[in-house]
């Protein structure tokens, strides 16, 4: 067997059981390149192939500590920024509180301004939710492996889904606002419900346009 192959087989053995992450594969490649150079130098200097092989292998030392070190690095990177999660939680709580408060403002504030305040609160709450949805951190790739690529891809499609959801949320909030506005100002209770059918139609058109844009 070729000596370089023998060195490779030995190194593969050393990394048996180690996770096949990009960092480990890189380390293996780096190690092999250096070991082969060393072997070539030794043989060129007059050492017999077998002795050169033994010297090269003996010079590696214990890689288990090194593997553990690399694994710890990736574990460290994994921690999700808790500040971002906290911020997101605050946004959602405030938005929900505003939704709950909205009907009360309609009751407490007399006159035409009542409904206006209610819709204002709803609009602010919806705005908060949308802002939160758009700025929340997505999954950060921690390893250049296929699994990580998949996770990122999945996170990406989830992001698209969140975008769709927020879009739909805006649309339906608007529809409800317009529905009440029409009713309060024009007293068109008999026909105003048609707006919901128009809403469904609009949503269909929007998703169609988005799907076409993707291609």
């Amino acid at each position: 067997m070729n000596m370089n192959e023998r060195i490779r087989t030995h190194v593969e053995g050393l990394f048996e059981g180690a996770p096949m992450t990009r960092k480990i594969l890189d380390l293996k490649e780096e190690l092999l390149a250096n070991l082969n150079s060393k072997y070539d130098d030794l043989v060129a200097g007059g050492t017999s192939p077998d002795d050169a092989y033994r010297t090269v292998i003996a010079g590696i030392g214990d890689v288990s500590e090194l593997v553990r070190q690399i694994q710890n690095e990736s574990a460290f990177n994994k921690s999700i920024p808790s500040s971002a999660r906290k911020r997101s939680a605050i946004f959602v709580s405030v938005a929900v509180a505003l939704y709950i408060l909205a009907p009360f403002s309609a009751i407490l504030v007399t006159g035409n301004m009542g409904p206006f305040f209610m819709f204002l609160l709803i609009a602010v709450a919806t705005g908060l939710l949308i802002y939160n949805g758009m700025t929340s951190p997505k999954y950060i790739k921690e390893e250049d492996s296929i699994v990580e690529d998949f996770k990122e891809w999945k996170s990406g499609t989830n992001e698209k889904k969140t975008f769709r959801k927020t879009l739909s949320l805006i649309l339906w909030s608007l529809i409800v606002i317009v529905y009440f506005a029409i009713n309060f100002f024009f007293f068109a209770w008999a026909y105003s419900w048609l707006i919901f059918i128009i809403g469904v139609f609009c949503e269909g058109v929007i998703s169609l346009v988005l799907d076409m844009k993707k291609r």
């Binding site: 030995h10 390149a33 070991l35 082969n36 033994r54 010079g59 590696i60 030392g61």
Partner: protein, 131 residues
């Protein structure tokens, strides 16, 4: 394959250890300075693992050589702290080599460590002097 390789490895490791046993204490002292030694080698030009180790061997006239595991472990630590950065070379033949280059922070670390060592050396020299 590994079954046929490992007995040889064990035999070699034992022989290797008995050979270097007499300088085990020196090695411990030296090992504490692995990172500074690497930084010193990178000050002049970018380099890769084997080249650094070879130059260590040459400078010490074969009295000292780093184990690969020790070397890469130090590389990872230095990279983590931002003292060095790495990139892959574009060798036309054979496997790719990973090169390391020292950063500004690395130069500062080197100077500081060297200063520390000069001071330690002076103190120990004074303390070990025969009365």
């Amino acid at each position: 394959m590994t079954d046929t390789v490992s007995p040889i490895t064990i035999y070699i490791d034992v022989r290797y250890n008995s050979e270097v046993k007499k300088m085990a204490i020196t090695s411990d002292l030296l090992r504490g300075h692995t990172e500074t030694i690497i930084l010193a080698h990178l000050l002049g030009k970018d380099s890769y693992g084997y080249e650094i180790n070879k130059s260590i061997q040459e400078k010490t006239k074969n009295r000292y050589e780093l184990k690969e595991a020790t070397l890469y472990s130090a590389f990872r630590r230095l990279e983590e702290t931002g003292s060095i950065s790495s990139y892959w070379g574009d060798e036309s033949t054979g496997a790719r080599r990973r090169y390391y280059s020292v950063t500004k922070l690395g130069r500062e670390t080197y100077l500081k460590n060297k200063e520390d060592w000069e001071e330690t050396k002076e103190i120990i020299d004074r303390l070990l002097k025969e009365e």
